[in-house]
C-alpha cells in the first residue's frame, strides 16, 4: 500500500513539474543534436543525389547501407538497421547489460560520459525542485539547486562507480569464465544461452539496485543536507535493506511502467511506415514523445522515492 500511496504522490508531484520535464527533455534533445548534426551530414553526403536516396526515403536500401557501413568511421559505424524501432532499445539494453558499450566509438563513449555528469548536475536541480513545500519549476532555482548539490552528487557518482566496477569485475572475471567453461563443455547451445541470459539479468538487477541506493543517498544529501557522502551512502544502503519490499517494490513498479511505455512506443512505431513527409513527421513526433515520457518517468521515480523516503522517515 505504501508503494502505491507514494507512487501516487510522486505522480502528482511530477505532474506539477511538467515544465521541468520539458526542460530536461530539451536538454537531452539539444545535447543529442550535437552528434546528430554531423551524423545527418554523413547520411546526406553519402546518399547525395543517388537514387539510393529515393529508396531510403521509401524503405531501407540495404545495398546502400552496406556501402556506407564499409566506409564508415567513428560515429558513422553506429548507423545500422538494428537501430530501427525496437532495435534502438534492444541495442542499448544489450550494450549495457552485456557491457558492450566499451566497443562503441570513443567519441560516443566520451559524449555519454559527459551526459552522465550533466545528469548528475541536473539531478540536484530535480531534487531541489521537489524539496519545496509546493514543488514548482523555475529555471533559476533549478540551476541554483543543481549547482549547490553538484559536488556532493559528483562525489556520489564517483563512489557509485566503485560499486559498479566491483560488480563489473565480479561478473566479468568471476562469472563469465565459469559460463565459458560450462559452455565449452556443453552438449547444446541452450545452456550457454540461458547462462548468458541469467548473467544479463543479474547485471540488470545489480545495476538497478545500485542506482536505487544512490538515488536515496542523493535524496538524503538534499533532504538532510548531509555532507558526508560515505555516511549518506551507508545510510541509503541501510534504508534500502531495512525496507526492501517498499523500496524495491516502488522501484520495480516504475521500472515496469517504463517497460510498458517502451512496448507501446515500439508497437505504435511499427505501424508508422515513414515513407513520406507526413509519416516521417508523425514518427519523429512519436519518437520525441517517447523520450519525453521516459524523462517524465525518471522524474516520477525521483519524486516517488523522495515521497517514500519522507513517508518512511
Amino acid at each position: 500500500m505504501k508503494i502505491f500511496i507514494n507512487f501516487g504522490k510522486g505522480f502528482m508531484t511530477t505532474g506539477k513539474t511538467t515544465k521541468m520535464v520539458l526542460f530536461l527533455f530539451l536538454i537531452n534533445l539539444l545535447f543529442s543534436l550535437i552528434l546528430a548534426i554531423p551524423m545527418y551530414n554523413s547520411l546526406k553526403n553519402s546518399l547525395g543525389t543517388s537514387e539510393a536516396g529515393n529508396r531510403m526515403a521509401e524503405s531501407f536500401d540495404y545495398i546502400w547501407w552496406e556501402e556506407f557501413r564499409d566506409e564508415a568511421q567513428g560515429l558513422e559505424t553506429t548507423f545500422a538497421p538494428s537501430i530501427i524501432g525496437k532495435g534502438a532499445i534492444l541495442t542499448n539494453l544489450e550494450s549495457l547489460f552485456q557491457m558492450r558499450f566499451f566497443s562503441a566509438p570513443p567519441l560516443l563513449i566520451g559524449f555519454g560520459l559527459l551526459y552522465i555528469i550533466l545528469h548528475t548536475f541536473l539531478a540536484g536541480g530535480i531534487l531541489s525542485t521537489f524539496n519545496q513545500d509546493e514543488p514548482r519549476f523555475a529555471v533559476k532555482a533549478f540551476l541554483q539547486g543543481a549547482g549547490s548539490h553538484f559536488l556532493r552528487f559528483f562525489a556520489l557518482m564517483l563512489f557509485s562507480w566503485l560499486f559498479l566496477f566491483v560488480i563489473g569485475a565480479f561478473l566479468h572475471d568471476a562469472l563469465l569464465p565459469i559460463i565459458y567453461d560450462i559452455s565449452s563443455d556443453s552438449y547444446s547451445e541452450v545452456i550457454p544461452f540461458l547462462l548468458m541470459l541469467a548473467l544479463s539479468a543479474i547485471t540488470l538487477f545489480l545495476l538497478l539496485f545500485i542506482q536505487m541506493v544512490f538515488d536515496y543517498a542523493r535524496i538524503k544529501v538534499v533532504l538532510e543536507d548531509e555532507n558526508n557522502i560515505l555516511k549518506a551512502t551507508g545510510k541509503a544502503f541501510r534504508f534500502v535493506f531495512k525496507r526492501p519490499f517498499s523500496t524495491l517494490g516502488l522501484f520495480y513498479l516504475i521500472f515496469f511502467l517504463n517497460i510498458a511505455v517502451t512496448v507501446i512506443y515500439i508497437l505504435v512505431k511499427e505501424i508508422i511506415p515513414q515513407s513520406d513527409v507526413l509519416t516521417v513527421l508523425s514518427a519523429f513526433f512519436l519518437q520525441q514523445l517517447f523520450i519525453f515520457a521516459l524523462i517524465w518517468i525518471r522524474c516520477l521515480l525521483y519524486a516517488s522515492q523522495w515521497e517514500l523516503y519522507r513517508y518512511l522517515k
Binding site: 537531452n28 543529442s32 551524423m39 545527418y40 547520411l43 553519402s46 547525395g48 543525389t49 543517388s50 537514387e51 539510393a52 536516396g53 529515393n54 531510403m56 526515403a57 524503405s59 531501407f60 540495404y62 545495398i63 552496406e66 556501402e67 556506407f68 557501413r69 564499409d70 548507423f79 538497421p81 538494428s82 530501427i84 532495435g87 534502438a88 532499445i89 534492444l90 542499448n92 539494453l93 550494450s95 549495457l96 552485456q98 558499450f101 555519454g112 551526459y115 552522465i116 555528469i117 563512489f159 562507480w161 556443453s186 547444446s188 547451445e189 541452450v190 538497478l208 545500485i210 542506482q211 544512490f214 515513414q274 516521417v280 519523429f284 519518437q287 517517447f290 523520450i291 521516459l294 525518471r298
Partner: protein, 658 residues
C-alpha cells in the same frame, strides 16, 4: 587363419565380381575403390580398420609409386602445416591435452597378388612427402615406392591396416563427448594426373581432391549409436556383444565420411524431386533442434529439387543431412551424399537458418561432389559455384531474407529491411578485391578473409554478373551443360571458360580473365548530370536569318559516365527526363569516361549507369545514379531514427551515474 581366409575370399570377390559389376552399374569409371572394416573404440576414441584399396591407373602414363593423404596427421602436433597455418590466421591450439590430438598411422601396407602384381610389403618403402611446403613435422602425405610400375589401365590392389586416434574437434572432424564426426580419416590415395601425383599436404584453408570410386564400408561400434554415412545404409547387424555393425555402400563418389551419436533423432523420407525420380533423405537431428525438423527437411528437398532443375537430376539414391552437435566444429561441411547443416535453436521465419547452410552444403554435392574440382587448386570452382547455387536456390524457394540481429542470444528480425540477392558477398569483395586473384592455390591467399572473399564471394558475384550479362536463359543452359558435362570429371578453369564461350557464341575470356586472373575493381559511376536552357539562336539557320531568338523551349542536357575501376565491361545507361521521356545508351566502357548530350524539351530527372543491375560486381552501386534533385526526406527520416536511439542511449546510460 580364419581372418586371412576371410580377407582373401573378400578380395577375390572384389576382383571378380565387384569390379565388372561396377563398370556396368556405376555412373563412371571406378578408379579408387575402398572396402573397409572399421571398429570404433569409444573408450579409447580410436579407430582400427582394414582397408582394401583397388586403384586403377586411368592415365596414359605409368607410375612406380603411389601417393596417399593422411589428413588426420594434421592434428597430431602443433607444427603440422595445417595447424601452423591456422595459428598464423589467429587460431591457437595451445592447451590441448594428450588425448585431444589425432593421427592416422599406417601399420601395414601390402600389395595383394592379382593378375598384374605379386604380393609385396610396402612398409619399408614408405616416405613422407612435402609437395607444397617443406615441413618435416608434417606427415599428411606419404608415398610408397612400388617394385613394378602400374601401367596405363592396370589395377593394383592394396591391403592397408591402420589405426586412427580421433582428435578433439579442431576442424571439421573429431569427437565431442559421444558425438563422432569422422571425415578424411583413412589413408586415401591421391589423384594421378598427367603423369604426376596430385596429392597436396593438408592446409588450413584448403579442402580435398580425390578420384571417384566405390566405398563398401562396415563400421562396428556400440549398438546404441545412431549412424549416418555416405551412401546407402544397407544393413545393421547386431553382434550380440553390445556392438552393431553398420554396412554402407556407395559407388561413384570420391569420399566416405560418417557420423555416430546415441543422441541423434533420425528421420527418413522418400522424396520424389521430379516425376519418376526419387531419393531417400535422412536427417540426423540434435534433440534440442527437434522443432527445426521440418525446416531442415524442406531445405534439403528444395536443394534437391532446384539443384536437379538447374544443374542436372540428382543421381544418388540417398542424401543424409547431419545437424552437428554444439562445439563439434563439424557444421557446414560437405561429403558426397552426406553433409552437415548447422542451426541455432532459436530461429524464426525470415532468418535463413538452417536453410542457408543446408542448401550450400548439399550444393557441394554438385560442385565438388559430381563436378569433381580440385579444391586445393581451384577452390573458387567449388566454393564460388556452390555459393552461387545456394543463393539462387534460397531466393527462388524462400524469397528475400530479412535483416536480423541477435540480442541477448535471441535473433530479432527487422521486417522493413530485406536483403536483396545483389548484396550477397559484395561487402567482403569490396574490402578485399585487390588482395588476391581468385585463381590461386587455397593456401596461397594473403589471409583467410581474402581466401573466403575470393573463393566464395567474388566467384559467386562473377557468376551472377555473367548470368545477367549473358541473359538468364542462355546462362541457365550454359551452367547446366557445364555441370552435366563435367560430372565425375576433374574440370579446370579452361573447361568452364570453353562452355561459357560456346553458349555466348564468342570467346568470353576477355570477360572471365578480368575476374578470374585479375584483381581490379569494377566501378562505373555517373560523373555528372546537367540541364540548361539552350542558348538563344543568333545567325543563319537553314537559310533563315535569326537576329536573336526571343525564347527557347529546349534544354541542353549532358550526362558524363565514368569508369572508376580498371575492369572494362560494356554497360548500359538510362537517362530519364522530367517529361517522362527515356533514352537508353550503350557504352563499351573502354575509355575512362563518356559524355552523352541531348537537346530535349525538358530537363534531365536522373541518369543511371547499369540500370538493370547486371554488374553485381560493381563495388559502389550508390554512385551508379544521379538525380538532378536529391531526395531531402531520406536523411531526415533516418537521422530521426538515429536521434531517438541516441537520446534513449543517453537517458538509459544514466544508470551508470548511480
Amino acid at each position: 587363419m580364419f581372418k586371412k581366409y576371410q580377407a582373401l575370399s573378400f578380395i577375390l570377390a572384389l576382383l571378380f565380381f565387384l569390379l565388372p559389376a561396377a563398370s556396368q552399374e556405376t555412373f563412371c569409371k571406378q578408379i579408387a575403390n575402398y572396402t573397409m572394416d572399421v571398429t570404433l573404440d569409444t573408450e579409447a576414441k580410436m579407430i582400427k580398420a582394414t582397408e582394401v584399396l583397388s586403384w586403377t591407373n586411368d592415365t596414359g602414363y605409368s607410375t612406380n609409386e603411389l601417393w596417399f593423404h593422411l589428413y588426420w596427421n594434421a592434428f597430431q602436433n602443433n607444427m603440422s602445416t595445417f595447424l601452423a597455418e591456422a595459428e598464423r590466421r589467429g587460431r591457437s591450439v595451445s592447451g590441448l591435452k594428450k588425448d585431444d590430438w589425432g593421427y592416422c598411422r599406417v601399420e601395414s601396407i601390402k600389395v595383394v597378388a592379382n593378375p598384374y602384381f605379386q604380393e609385396y610389403d610396402l612398409m619399408p618403402f614408405l616416405e613422407f612427402r612435402y609437395p607444397d611446403v617443406e615441413n618435416l613435422y608434417d606427415q599428411t602425405v606419404f608415398s610408397a615406392r612400388l617394385p613394378d610400375a602400374v601401367g596405363p589401365g592396370q589395377t593394383i590392389l592394396l591391403r592397408i591396416e591402420f589405426e586412427s586416434k580421433i582428435p578433439r574437434p579442431i576442424s571439421r572432424t573429431g569427437v565431442y563427448k559421444d558425438y563422432y564426426f569422422i571425415a578424411q580419416w583413412f589413408p586415401k590415395i591421391g589423384v594421378f594426373q598427367d603423369g604426376r601425383w596430385n596429392c597436396h599436404q593438408y592446409h588450413s584453408a584448403s579442402e580435398y581432391f580425390a578420384d571417384y570410386g566405390t566405398y563398401d564400408v562396415r563400421i562396428t561400434l556400440p549398438s546404441s549409436f545412431v549412424v549416418g554415412a555416405t551412401g546407402e545404409h544397407r544393413e545393421k547387424i547386431d553382434n550380440g556383444d553390445g556392438t552393431a555393425t553398420h554396412h554402407f555402400y556407395q559407388h561413384s563418389v570420391h569420399e566416405f565420411a560418417w557420423t555416430a551419436s546415441p543422441r541423434f533423432l533420425e528421420y527418413t523420407e522418400n522424396y520424389e524431386f521430379t516425376p519418376g525420380k526419387q531419393t531417400e533423405i535422412t536427417l540426423l537431428l540434435q534433440p534440442e533442434h527437434k522443432r527445426l525438423k521440418d525446416r531442415y527437411l524442406n531445405a534439403v528437398k528444395n536443394a534437391i529439387k532446384y539443384s536437379s532443375l538447374f544443374y542436372g537430376d540428382y543421381p544418388y539414391s540417398t542424401a543424409t543431412c547431419v545437424d552437428p552437435a554444439y562445439n563439434s566444429r563439424s557444421g557446414g561441411m560437405e561429403y558426397p551424399t552426406f553433409f552437415t547443416g548447422g542451426a541455432y535453436f532459436l530461429t524464426w521465419k525470415g532468418i535463413p537458418s538452417p536453410e542457408g547452410v543446408t542448401i550450400h552444403e548439399f550444393g557441394h554435392g554438385y560442385f565438388y561432389g559430381l563436378v569433381g574440382t580440385n579444391e586445393f587448386e581451384n577452390a573458387w570452382m567449388d566454393e564460388g559455384f556452390t555459393s552461387f547455387l545456394d543463393t539462387e536456390i534460397y531466393y527462388t524457394a524462400y524469397g528475400e531474407p530479412l535483416y536480423n540481429r541477435s540480442f541477448f542470444g535471441i535473433p530479432v528480425t527487422f521486417k522493413d529491411v530485406k536483403i536483396p540477392i545483389e548484396s550477397d558477398g559484395i561487402s567482403s569483395h569490396r574490402q578485399t578485391y585487390n588482395m588476391d586473384v581468385i585463381q590461386r592455390f587455397a593456401w596461397e591467399f594473403l589471409e583467410g578473409g581474402s581466401y573466403g572473399a575470393n573463393s566464395y564471394s567474388k566467384a559467386e558475384l562473377m557468376l551472377r554478373t555473367l548470368k545477367r550479362f549473358m541473359g538468364e536463359d542462355v546462362f541457365a543452359r550454359m551452367i547446366k551443360t557445364y555441370s552435366r558435362r563435367n560430372w565425375f570429371k576433374h574440370p579446370k578453369p579452361p573447361d568452364f571458360f570453353r562452355v561459357v564461350s560456346e553458349f555466348a557464341g564468342r570467346d568470353m575470356s576477355w570477360f572471365l580473365d578480368q575476374f578470374v586472373y585479375g584483381s581490379d575493381k569494377l566501378d562505373y559511376a555517373i560523373g555528372n548530370i546537367s540541364s540548361q536552357k539552350e542558348k538563344k539562336r543568333e545567325g543563319w539557320f537553314d537559310g533563315e536569318y535569326i537576329k536573336r531568338e526571343i525564347e527557347t523551349n529546349r534544354y541542353l542536357s549532358e550526362v558524363i559516365v565514368r569508369r572508376l575501376g580498371e575492369v572494362k565491361l560494356p554497360v548500359e545507361v538510362l537517362i530519364v527526363f522530367e517529361d517522362g521521356n527515356e533514352v537508353r545508351e550503350t557504352w563499351d566502357g573502354q575509355y575512362r569516361w563518356k559524355r552523352f548530350v541531348y537537346q530535349q524539351p525538358s530537363r534531365i530527372q536522373k541518369a543511371v549507369v547499369d540500370p538493370e543491375f547486371k554488374l553485381v560486381l560493381d563495388i559502389n552501386r550508390t554512385n551508379n545514379s544521379q538525380m538532378r534533385k536529391p531526395n531531402r526526406l531520406a536523411p531526415l527520416k533516418w537521422i530521426s531514427n538515429w536521434l531517438v536511439w541516441l537520446q534513449h542511449a543517453l537517458e538509459f546510460f544514466t544508470i551508470l551515474g548511480g
